[in-house]
Amino acid sequence: MSKLRDLLTQTKDVVYTAEFPVIDGGGMEQVKKNVDRLAPWFVAVNATDNTAAHAHASNVSVAIAMKQHGLEPIMQIVCRDKNRLAVQADMAGANLHGIENIALLTGDDVTAGDEPETRRVFDLDGPQAINVASILNAGTYLSGRKLNPAPNFFICSVENPFAPPHDYRIERALKKHRAGAQMIQLQIGYHPDRLEKFCAGVAATVPGLAIIPSVVLIKSAKPLSFMNDKVPGISVPQEVIDRVAQYNRFPPR
């Protein structure tokens, strides 16, 4: 049972999700600690898939561990590292363990990570991966071979309304919806005008399609400058950086 699906499709509640910290150390105890910290606040939490092109404990394993500790996962599958067989194997594995929320992403390039010499895969792209999840929901693999029991995935997608070409982002989100996505999580962004236009554009065609924008908590202006300079797809207006920098002089409590 996906609580996330129930809340997003049956109610008008504002739903809060978060991203589970990557697991590189601390073992299952660390997973438990993270769950205890997040569970009181969030309906469901993203289990990432080699986020920012760095290897970590796998998406499926973390999603299973989260579930065991009572926190509903949104299991991400990224197209960068896996061909279509591996993507479907992740989906079938999630189904085996009763994981219903899955999010399909194209993914950062390998050059964003600490092993830029690796092979990039992108055998599928985000919209294709979403469609493949819909195919599995109908009870077969991409090839047509049966998968029984069929999954009951709540299919999530991600879009970046803040990156060019801005007008096209609405069409691309709608394409993902046609492929089967029932929810859109958004990239971090610092251009409210773009966010507003995107949400209005999506709602004009698919009223009620759930959109979850991202909020990042920062302690100073430094991460804003970093994101603006180093993370492709994120632009932070200088005015925003300056405004935050004004308050840097207050010592952190």
Partner: protein
């Protein structure tokens, strides 16, 4: 017949390589992507731009290159392309069939080989109407 096929292959490659840096994927979609080849995207994305497009419209992977999909969108909007081509812009294009790599997309178009998709994909397309 094989001679004719080889000739077509050579002519197609000879034309498309200099203009579009064609990699002979064998399933050409240029007409529906604003005459911009999505296979020149470092991630070979066939369904639109990733989230990594830079503020100046350039590529996440190759900062010196304009994003293929930014170019495609501009051209789709501004070029006097046939309406039916523009209508196909937002189609959900299927995953690349790696078996067609190195073959002539012209031949695959005529034989409709380029329209073959895996059974699961074809069934979903049929059931959900055209994407």
């Amino acid at each position: 017949m094989p001679k004719l096929l080889n000739l077509l292959l050579a002519v197609e490659h000879g034309m498309k390589k200099p203009v579009w840096d064609c990699t002979m994927c064998g399933q050409c979609v240029l007409h529906s992507t604003g005459m911009t080849c999505p296979m020149t995207c470092p991630k070979t994305l066939r369904n639109g731009p990733c989230g990594g497009v830079r503020e100046d419209g350039h590529c996440e992977v190759k900062p010196e290159m304009r994003c293929v999909w930014v170019k495609a969108y501009d051209r789709k909007v501004s070029l006097p392309l046939p309406t039916v081509w523009k209508e196909h812009y937002n189609d959900l294009r299927p995953p690349v069939d790696m078996q067609l790599k190195g073959t002539s997309s012209w031949v695959n178009l005529i034989t409709k080989r380029d329209q073959q998709t895996p059974a699961g994909w074809a069934k979903r397309k049929e059931q959900s109407g055209s994407h």
